[in-house]
Amino acid sequence: MTTKPAGRTLIAGVGYRNLRDLSAGNAIIDTLLAMDWPSGVEVEDLSYGPMDALFRFKEAAFERLIVIGAVARPGRIPGEVYRSRWQYEAEPPDQVQARVAEAVTGVISLDNLLIICAHFEVLPPDTIVIEIEPEDGDWGEEFSPRVAAAADRIVAQIVSKWGASLVE
């Protein structure tokens, strides 16, 4: 196990449920929520919406956010995991407003969460985004084999890095 960084950390997932690979963020968080986490590390499903997450970040003052979601983007390989440190390239206000309008009317989106919270300057200073490229976004609960393997790898890496133990 590597050394755990200092400061409060939130490990979060975002996504719709029951959409197979597209629900990987929620499913990974469900797995992590069943574990015991050391002090200073919290695990939460942030799919309740960017506006509520905004207030949560404003009040909680996390030092670090690790946010996980399945997002289909052109040119990527299904089942691959893409990890990056979030850098906000400011969007025009009209586009941010459009994202707010989506958020308050119930659209669940990792991009909206990050961009809205970044616009309002509440994202934790160290935000790491872990995206899985989905293969199958149909109705259902099971992952495609490649995304299932990727989800297992992410869980193992997070447990190793942040020191969770299984709840007895």
Binding site: M51, Q97, A98, V100, A101, E102
Partner: protein
């Protein structure tokens, strides 16, 4: 006379019956419109007539699009079509399922109104199952759905429709109005604190304006109020037939109350600052009374039941309907036609001549349980048979259906329930809300801010500004309904009356039917359920936006969005077609709080302007 177009009359005791001697009582001949070639010819011969397309980008679930033909010389809209571009499909998903699943599945029809759908579904099921909630269960539903609306109203007023009246929008589209706003004092500065209209408009600016940011915070307080009692939002798990499955205590009740008081105070300011903005527009240019104007034809089921009256039966629905805090009703050309839920129900029909569906025979329920006639196009008789195909503006162009009451196009919103309640004067006696026959008097109690009396008047002209003004007063109305229910609930708790749900056995044999009459923040909502041998045989959801985004009906009548846009003058300041932004059309559409997330592309000449009309997905089938 309740019905003028349907062949339904009433006997001396008020019981509806089918008029005798009519060979095919619900039959009709679809009207023929202009052909596509005729429209094309019109466009070709007139250079100043342009097609204006509001074309969707489907990055979100559910979409509304608009196709219009505008005359930029006459500054008018020549033709328009509202288009629901996605198939919702909940009716298909629910078929064959355990009826209790409907509460949780139908909730997903909307990301804003999930609790409303759950509740409406629970009402339909308890009618079908023959059960009713205990009094505190009724009160809790009322409190939950008041909290939901107190989330929804500021969302509409400040985050969705509000930016159309902000400094950034007004200065860009009507600079002369902005100049005037800078010089115009705000009448109610003593309540909201703004000295001029320009100051209000500046704080309405999206993302940066104080009113916009404050509204974000207030929506959170309303959500907290819901969650304290209901456990989770937007898709609660605590709504069940026969009540709610949660435990309430004096502590949770008081936590709700602390949020409610903040919303009571907020509603004082909301009503009067929007009064100032809308009065400013109408004084600056009386033509704004034509933006989004249409006939005063409104429908609403009412909501917020009385624990003394609600028994969940269809037989007594007229009585328990009238005992609601919001009176059910139908208004035709400004006149109250009925307040009976049964009349509302038997007058319903849905048509699909301009929608991507096949027709159906609809012979299963020729009457309701009392023997009153039902159309083959009534939701209990309807079948959802999707048939996707290409858009043809004169034939099929939308996934929405054309719901009609007495074969007329109706609109609905918080204003329709306020309008019905004001006219009917059936509201139960209480300390906070008074219906005068022409207005609603709203007595907001002292909280952190002093007590304030408001009065919402039934408007003379019906248009986009008045829709939004009524929405602003709906904040206060809703908060006062919650005050009434909170006081009643507190008294029940003090008396040890803590039961919130009723045990029941779900019928596993035979046929049961039910209808949930409730209301969303945006207006009318019904769920019609038919259950055969313990499984859903038919489930039909009729939402506010199903009514209002509706296409033309077979009689040639446009839907409310279409009609309102057709009546809208183009008051925007522009010299060249490429400068045209379409703000008046967008104000007209947004005043209805349309319920589909949509991206609107306005094509004027060779220029494309991208605007968005955002909401949720419950307006489509």
């Amino acid at each position: 006379m309740c019905f003028k177009n349907l062949p339904v009359e009433f006997d001396a005791s008020g019981k509806p019956y089918l008029k005798e001697g009519v060979a095919n009582p619900y039959g009709y001949e679809p009207r023929k419109d202009l052909t596509h070639d005729q429209i094309t010819d019109l466009l070709t011969r007139n250079g100043h007539i342009k097609e204006v397309n509001f074309d969707p980008v489907t990055r979100v679930a559910g979409a509304l699009a608009f196709h219009s033909v505008v005359d930029l010389e006459q500054r008018s809209v020549v033709e328009t079509n509202a288009v629901a571009t996605l198939f919702r499909g909940y009716e298909v998903i629910l078929k064959g399922r355990d009826p209790r699943d409907a509460i949780f599945i139908s909730s997903r029809a909307c990301g804003v109104c999930g609790g409303v759908h759950s509740t409406c579904s629970a009402l339909a099921l308890e009618m079908a199952f023959g059960i009713q909630p205990p009094p505190l269960g009724v009160i809790l539903r009322n409190l939950l759905l008041a909290a939901e609306f107190l989330y929804d109203h500021p969302l509409h007023l400040f985050l969705l429709a509000g930016p159309d009246y902000s400094q950034s929008a007004v200065e860009a589209t009507n600079p002369e109005l902005w100049d005037r706003a800078l010089r115009t004092p705000a009448e109610h500065t003593g309540v909201h604190g703004y000295a001029t209209i320009a100051e209000i408009m500046t704080d309405l600016n999206p993302l940066s304006g104080n009113l916009y940011l404050e509204a974000l915070g207030m929506t959170r307080i309303a959500r907290e109020a819901y969650v304290i009692l209901g456990g989770k939002y937007p898709h609660p798990q605590t709504i069940v037939p026969g009540g709610i499955s949660t435990t309430v205590t004096l502590t949770t009740f008081n936590e709700y109350y602390s949020r409610l008081l903040k919303l009571v105070d907020y509603s004082k300011k909301v009503a009067l600052l929007w009064d100032d903005v809308f009065d400013f527009f109408l004084r600056a240019n009386p033509e704004y009374a034509r933006v989004g104007a249409r006939r005063k034809n409104l429908i609403d089921t009412g909501l917020w039941d009385s624990p003394d009256s609600y028994d969940a039966t269809y037989k007594n629905c007229n009585e328990w309907g009238k005992a609601r805090w919001a009176t059910p009703g139908v208004i035709i050309d400004g006149e109250l036609r009925t307040t009976n839920l049964q009349d509302i129900n038997i007058g319903l029909e849905e048509f699909v001549e301009h929608s991507f569906y096949e027709g159906w025979n609809g012979e299963r329920f020729p009457t309701d349980e009392s023997g009153a006639p039902l159309s083959p196009h009534h939701p209990w008789n309807k079948e959802t048979k999707p048939r996707p195909e290409g858009i043809n503006w004169k034939e099929k162009y939308t996934w929405d259906t054309a719901p009609r009451w007495d074969r007329m196009s109706m609109e609905t919103g918080p204003y329709s329930r306020m309008w019905n309640t004001a006219l009917a004067q059936e509201i139960p006696d209480n300390d906070f809300i008074e219906a005068t026959g022409h207005s609603l008097k709203l007595r907001l109690p002292k909280a952190a801010k002093p007590a304030l009396d408001l009065e919402w008047h039934i408007p003379q002209d019906w248009n986009a500004l008045e829709r939004n003004r009524a929405r602003a007063y709906a904040m206060a109305y809703t908060a006062l309904v919650a005050m009434n229910d909170w006081l009643r609930g507190l008294a029940m708790l003090r008396d040890g009356e803590t039961k919130v749900s009723t045990e029941y056995e779900m019928p596993r044999r035979g046929t049961q039917i039910g209808v949930g009459f409730w209301g969303a923040g945006r207006g009318y909502l019904t769920h019609h359920a038919v259950i055969d041998n313990g499984k859903i045989a038919n489930y039909q959801i009729l939402t506010p936006s199903t009514w209002m985004a509706s296409p033309r009906d077979p009689f040639g009548n446009p839907g409310p969005y279409e009609e309102a846009v057709m009546n809208t003058p183009l008051l925007e300041t522009f010299d060249k077609p490429e400068d045209f932004k379409g703000i008046d059309i967008l104000r007209a559409i947004r005043s209805f709080d349309p319920c589909m997330p949509c991206t609107t592309h306005v094509y004027a000449g060779d220029r494309t302007i991208v605007r968005e009309v955002n909401t949720c997905a419950c307006g489509v089938e």
